[in-house]
Subunit: 402 residues, 2 copies
């Protein structure tokens, strides 16, 4: 990178305004714009584009069309003024609170059916509403994403999982949609934890309107963030561009309910491309809302099934720190018996008494072995010795097929 | 193996009776007995044991205790006579209908927490009720196993899966328990297919009694099979010994609902040890009856999630032959658009009309590009050209977040 003049340094007002203007001139994540900034810095990149110096025709047509609509510098200035009035701030890579994890997108290569994906580079800036510092808030964060048309099962699981993660001091992050996204935010807020909504439109007009009260609460207690300037509309393709940021800024992403080939499954493919923990909550195979989840698990050896916040922390936590216990059935002393003891115990009748000789014949063991094993079984509280023989201990009547 | 006299050859009446007697003297799968038979044949192995010639003390105590109860040869003869009266037959390894896949158990090595598992060798014989030949029936078979205390979800999935597999000429195989086992048999029978119940007791007294009508129907249209002689009781440990046969005789095993550390999870560990397809149906993470299923999927990289009979056939079938289609969302022509076309389509307002110049400005593309892409979009039926501009085709009003 060439050395910029002091008033054009990264983080200077000129740099911030240039990043906003560049985000407006091309969609966020644009591969060419990002490369130019790496080489020349944002102010000079903006100068070059506005003076008609384009490295390729694709960027030329994109930028030229936008320039026909308005003056990029004036649009950026107006957007920055509106942000100030709204109490929103701009965060750029040179700021202390820049979430550095998102820069991993710089190394992402995706080949989607022969066409190189243009919009996968890191954001040029973030617009932020909410007090907590961005980097610190996102460092311990987990994304919970999923279907808008979630079932009550999905919203229940998302809420519980977010509640438990927030209760363990993890930030929950999601989009802003109805269904799983909203359930995740509500779960985190219910736990008094932090939650972050990443939007695909301006932070002044979070979409959908039906979640307005939720967005206000998130802005109050967590963060609303976006790459798009104040006033930007939630166009369809923006959600897909936004999804790469969900994948990149978090320690891992959980999908709870997703239809086949949905936005959530696209997010998970970004997560897998970034080698982040890609976690999937299964559901009934009879539910259309779990088809996408099961397809991810069947199709990707690195996708991991999770059933709880503990499973999630095991996947994303340092080895050992969050290690969950393996699931256990009822704690039967009989499960830990050696085979001869198990045979003896099995030979004890369910009702009434048996002599050691009876037990030896039934179990196919010597009387001596039976007597040895009975001592062990008595110590384990599985049998009782009575005057006329041996009986099962009252609480250990066995179930013949387990 | 030493060469036996003609009347003691494998498959001779003496060999059959010896195998029955040996099964009675030690539980099926016994490692030492199986090794002796490999070396000496069944008749000589029986002679040796009955004359007090034991290779180790463990087998000595087992056999001696049984010998105290009865005469092994007479027990075997009585059992064979009862089988004949019942219309059951004995199948031994030299018979044409022996299910050879079960012999893979000969190579199985399990180290269960430091103790070598004794009861994992192949069966010495099978008792069979039902007309279809054993080998042919089991060659194209899938086991469906799971919890007795199944939920309506689990029994529904097991029934549907068995119905679909039987409908594609696969034999369904299971135990005989309430819940998933019974649902699998009922599904196969409903499809007019073959179903096999592998019992852990004599085929004369299938357990549990509550499934008697079902067992009768299975014996009529499929097979009831067991390693245990006529009259044998369903002792608890026999189910665990039996499970290795479920794993070994089938082309693959599906578990539908299982509690943590249950019989079904033990079966799946046998399946995995044998490198057979180990398939698991997921369920709600809120269901105790799916905890074991999810634990298998989390704990074993080779366990495979399946959601349908098609998935099962994909796992067990030859590559390509049963390959299922990847799940798809609603078939949107828009999903296959290139990026520029998608941008143009996105720019078309949801209500009203737009000119190509409007679209170029909104999409950030040149007017020339927009005009090219509009032709493609019109061909795909996504937009319509009207006199005053371009509109969305009626059926393609987009949903902003997918």
């Amino acid at each position: 990178m060439t050395i910029p003049a002091p008033d054009r340094e990264p983080g200077s007002p000129v740099d911030r305004a240039a990043r906003v203007a560049l985000t407006w001139l091309a969609e966020p994540g644009n591969r060419t714009v990002w490369s130019l900034i790496q080489r020349f810095g944002a102010p000079e990149t903006l100068d070059r584009l506005l003076s008609g110096d384009f490295p390729n025709g694709s960027l030329r047509s994109t930028v030229t069309a936008r320039m026909a609509v308005g003056d990029a510098r004036r649009v950026a200035e107006a957007s920055l003024r509106r942000a100030e009035r709204l109490g929103a701030r701009i965060v750029v890579p040179s700021d202390d609170e820049w979430p550095t994890r998102v820069d991993d997108l710089a190394g992402l290569e995706l080949d989607t059916g022969g066409r190189i994906n243009q919009d996968i580079r890191p954001p040029l800036c973030f617009w932020v509403r909410g007090a907590p510092p961005l980097h610190e808030t996102l460092e311990r964060s987990v994304a919970i994403v999923g279907a808008r048309a979630a079932t009550s099962y999905g919203t229940h699981v998302a809420t519980e999982m977010a509640y438990a993660l927030a209760g363990q001091n993890w930030t929950v992050l999601s989009g802003g949609a109805f269904g799983i996204d909203a359930a995740a935010h509500r779960g985190a807020l219910a736990a008094g934890g932090r939650t972050v909504s990443i939007l695909a439109c301006g932070v002044d007009r979070p979409y959908p309107l039906g979640n307005s009260a939720l967005f206000d609460q998130i802005a109050e207690e967590g963060l609303l963030i976006s790459e798009w300037p104040i006033g930007a509309e939630p166009l369809r393709h923006r959600f897909l561009i936004r999804n790469r940021v969900i994948a990149a800024v978090t320690a891992g992403t959980v999908v709870v309910e997703a239809a086949a080939r949905s936005g959530a499954t696209q997010t998970m493919s970004r997560v897998l491309s970034l080698n982040r923990p890609a976690m999937v909550v299964p559901g009934p195979v009879t539910s259309a809302m779990s088809v996408g989840c099961h397809a991810i698990l069947r199709g990707n050896p690195y996708a991991r099934l999770v059933t709880s916040a503990d499973d999630v922390l095991e996947e994303i936590g340092r080895i050992g720190e969050y290690l969950t216990e393996p699931p256990r059935g009822p704690d039967h002393a009989r499960d830990s018996l050696d085979e001869e003891s198990a045979l003896v115990l099995e030979a004890v009748p369910r009702r009434g008494l048996a002599t050691p000789e009876d037990l030896a014949a039934t179990a196919g063991l010597s009387v001596r072995t039976v007597l040895q094993r009975l001592t062990l079984l008595e110590t384990a509280g599985l049998i009782t010795r009575r005057e006329n023989g041996i009986a099962l201990a009252p609480q250990h009547h066995p179930d013949p097929e387990t």
